[in-house]
Symmetry: C2
């Protein structure tokens, strides 16, 4: 059994929104960067997996944000893995400014073969993974499974250069931007707490066209991002 590991970070100017607080996309980026660094440090990072043509894929993510750190704040991101089976691994996050908990997250990952894009049995990582497990429960409820919606609003745009990662797939963080760009800006400006559930279903490539559809019911906003030929890429639910 291992301990929770903590990574320091300073909130940089390019990470804040017009309220001078770290955007939700930035807070999620802190979590995902720490996931990559911690997996590397514990011996199961993408660098090790790529030797076998495997890689990590984020399948679901839940984040609860109580408050957002401000520009130049020194924060700490805690992370720990507390569940692991053949098909899925659960990694948790806590974003703190000193002792003040500002955001918490739970992510679920699977391992895929980069050539076939099929899920891989993770049992081969069992030994190295068991040494990294931490006996600490997830800080919030695990990510919800989101169902299809019937959007009442919809916008489209092409995938561009600044959207794509080294696989030429749309970067995960861009989906967060698309979702938050579709919300009324006042909700973001006056945020005093939200929960976000995200399901990542398929990947969009350079040259495709993204469509983001949304519905709203009271304090709950749901979005579905799809691409050419109605391929569903990502579903999101935000509760203020």
């Amino acid at each position: 059994m291992a301990e929770i590991t903590s990574y320091p970070h300073r909130v940089e100017p390019q990470e804040v929104d017009f309220t001078l607080r770290a955007s939700v996309a930035s807070i999620i980026n802190y979590m995902l960067n720490v996931a990559g660094t911690d997996a590397h440090n514990k011996g199961f990072g993408v660098d090790v997996l790529q030797g076998q043509s495997f890689t990590w894929v984020l399948s679901r993510l839940a984040v609860e944000i109580k408050s957002q750190p401000c520009q130049y704040d020194d924060i700490v991101v805690d992370t720990w893995v507390n569940e692991f089976n053949r098909l899925s691994s659960t990694r948790n996050f806590r974003v703190r400014r000193g002792d003040e908990v500002m955001a918490e997250g739970v992510s679920q990952w699977c391992m895929i073969n980069m050539e076939t894009r099929q899920a891989v049995d993770m049992s081969t990582l069992k030994d190295v993974y068991e040494r990294a497990m931490v006996a600490e429960p997830s800080p919030i409820a695990v990510p919800a499974r989101l169902r299809a919606i019937e959007p009442t609003t919809s916008t489209s745009r092409p995938v561009v250069y600044s959207d794509i990662d080294f696989n030429r797939h749309v970067n995960t963080l861009r989906y967060i931007d698309l979702v938050f760009d579709a919300l009324p800006i006042e909700l973001i400006e006056n945020n005093h707490g939200m929960r976000i559930d995200l399901n990542f279903i398929a990947e969009a490539r350079y040259g495709e066209t993204l469509t983001i559809g949304g519905i709203n019911d009271g304090n709950v906003w749901q979005f579905e991002i799809s691409s050419d030929s109605d391929k569903t890429l990502c579903r999101a639910k935000i509760s203020f």
Copy 2:
């Protein structure tokens, strides 16, 4: 007289493009972040200016990129001010990986009154500025004055939440993204050297619609970004 000041930086995953090298927008962001930090450290940062309702505005920028640093590279950004008059200040940049110079830049700034949005005479900063001046020439030719173009291609999209800074104006870096998103991706992928000249003319606000028009002649690409009622925001020229 002062010395060139150097700021270290590590290239983070969110700063690289699909080639796993820092994007041009990220390299320019390194320069602009260091400009803000260095001005603060030398006593003429926005924090001091805001006491008088003044702020810095970037008017022109030229950047020459020989090569782009890779993910997790440790780089250094050198910066120095070498010219200063009533209406404009010149700040220079050099991005290095060890002794290898990867990019150089020259920026021209003016000071404006935040309420009237009019230029302010900078003579009041003369004493503090003269102590910060460095007797070192600019590393590349100063930014060109760019003329209007007659675009042959054009795309439009609204200003969204993730575009705007604390003034609710479109962030400078977003113009860089728009320009590079409009280039053939192969030019970015195979980049072995480029020069970028940028003129910042007016600011776009949340709710406006951005239009980006472009022309191409051989290795030279020119763009003009405008918003509602043909207000010109930014002109860019890229020479590969």
